[in-house]
């Protein structure tokens, strides 16, 4: 991972520029291995910035979350840039939003950090539970966990997020400044999706019914996703009301299909939806299925193309399913 002092020095320079409003990064969380997004308006705020395998959030979600209230008579809109620390998948999310004209490239200052994989909190909490304070450092293939006196050395594969174990683009594809050297990327084999695809229809429905039945429709998956930035989400529509607000297997299934479908060819695989879900629903398995289909059907990959996948077509798209 990038070293912290260099990161802070660079971010301080960027925060000091008068065409930058603030820079979004990561700071130590309030307990255990938690890390929280952090907003630096002044160079002093940058002192809190850290970067470690625990920095899991996709910060590309914040430019759209900033509410733009009607201006009072004499106020002028503050159009200064927003600085964002972006890992590989975060930068592809920004690229995808820019491709969809949801953001202008000059509105953001991107501080790229090559990423060697982030930790799945559920896995590390299972190994070292009930901790008030925990630090993690990476050292040639192992995570060194120092927590309240004792240290553990755990091989990376046991703690990495599932999506990071096969990450194809850990290096930012879009950045103003890069901190640290590039990392070699791995190969995605969609193993989980393939095993589920081979199952019978009945087994597949049993598998998903159990998960969708747990969904409480809190929409943390939607609000945590950088690509879910519609002004009015279809699920909040009242006329027409696509999905009813009552929490039943029918509406939950419709919601999960709607969310996954709207990310076909747009999801960059950062895994934030699965992380944010309080009910542990494996949402990435849905997104990865769509990512695999879109690659196979149209040879399309999110974040690196010119046009959204469903906004274009090619005359020889597959049509074996058409009668």
């Amino acid at each position: 991972m990038a070293n912290i002092d260099e990161l802070r020095r660079i971010v301080k320079e960027i925060v000091d520029r008068e065409d930058v409003k603030y820079v979004i990064g990561y700071e130590k969380g309030t307990y255990g291995f938690r890390v929280s997004p952090s907003f630096a308006f002044t160079p002093e705020d940058v002192e809190k910035f850290i970067f470690s395998p625990l920095c899991v959030h996709n910060l590309a979600v914040y430019p759209h979350l900033e509410e733009k209230l009607p201006l009072k008579r004499n106020e002028k809109e503050d159009t200064r840039k927003i600085g964002i620390i972006v890992k590989g998948c975060d930068s592809r999310a920004v690229a995808q939003i820019i491709q969809e004209k949801g953001l202008d490239r000059e509105d953001v200052v991107l501080i790229g950090v090559p990423c060697t994989g982030v930790i799945d909190l559920k896995k590390i909490n299972a190994r070292c539970p009930h901790l008030m304070y925990g630090e993690v450092r990476e050292e040639n293939g192992n995570f060194i966990i120092t927590a309240e006196g004792d240290t553990h050395r755990i091989p990376k594969e046991e703690l990495l997020c599932d999506v990071c174990t096969q990450c194809e683009n850990p290096n930012p594809i879009l950045y103003d400044v890069l901190i640290g050297e590039e990392v070699e990327s791995k190969k995605e084999d969609y193993q989980k999706v393939k095993t589920l695809e081979k199952k019978s229809l009945e087994e597949k429905w049993k598998y998903w019914e159990k998960k969708f039945d747990r969904c409480i429709r809190c929409y943390a998956c939607r609000n945590g996703c950088p690509l879910c930035y519609c002004e009015e989400c279809m699920v909040d529509n009242l006329s027409p009301q696509w999905v009813r607000r009552s929490v039943t297997i029918s509406e939950n299934t419709a919601w999960n299909i709607m969310r996954a479908y709207h990310l076909a060819g747009r999801c960059v695989g950062c895994g934030q939806c699965e992380r944010a879900c309080p009910m542990d629903i494996p949402l990435m398995e849905l997104n990865k299925k769509l990512e695999k289909d879109v690659k196979e059907l149209f040879d399309y990959q999110a974040g690196t193309e010119e046009e959204p996948v469903l906004a274009v077509f090619s005359p020889d798209d597959p049509e074996e399913f058409v009668l």
């Binding site: 087994e203 429905w205 419709a254 299909i257 076909a264 289909d293 798209d317 058409v322 009668l323």
Partner: protein, 150 residues
């Protein structure tokens, strides 16, 4: 919609068909005027182009009691709006695979190119989709169980 029929031995599926106004709807009309026989299970919704069919229409139809959904449009190249059917082809390709991945039988969501002159093809398509859905049975996975039915 017709639960009473379910109890009868023969299951009669509800098929919702989105027919594009310029080709498929005209094809269906031709099938009708030429007295062609095809199962009565289909309920037609006329849309200006198959591209108008939002994938959520399909999901909503399956929720509200449809056992099968057909999206019929013009043959590629004949679309009145030039590329409407191309977009539909991509959308439905992705939707069908996602539904299958979740456990919904692929026969339930079908696409077809039916031009204005293919009355017979329209009748065959309806026969085929009704047979397939009848074999697969009623769609009760994520059908809305309305509280007030009791």
């Amino acid at each position: 919609m017709n639960e009473a029929k379910d109890e009868m031995n023969e299951f009669e599926p509800n098929i919702v068909a989105f027919l594009c106004n310029w080709c498929s709807y005209a094809g269906a009309d031709l099938a009708g005027t030429s007295r062609m026989k095809y199962p009565p299970n289909v309920r037609v919704i006329r849309v200006m182009c198959s591209g108008r069919v939002n994938p959520m229409f399909v999901i909503n139809a399956l929720q509200q009691g449809a056992d099968g959904v057909l999206i019929a449009g013009c043959h590629p190249g004949d679309c009145h709006y030039v590329q409407g059917n191309y977009y539909t082809r991509r959308r439905m390709a992705v939707l069908k695979r996602l539904l299958e991945y979740i456990g919904i039988e692929p026969e339930r969501v079908q696409m077809a190119w039916v031009s204005a002159s293919e009355g017979q093809k329209f009748a065959d398509v309806i026969k085929e989709i009704t047979e397939k859905v009848k074999k697969v049975g009623p769609q009760h996975h994520f059908r809305r169980r309305n509280v007030w039915r009791i």
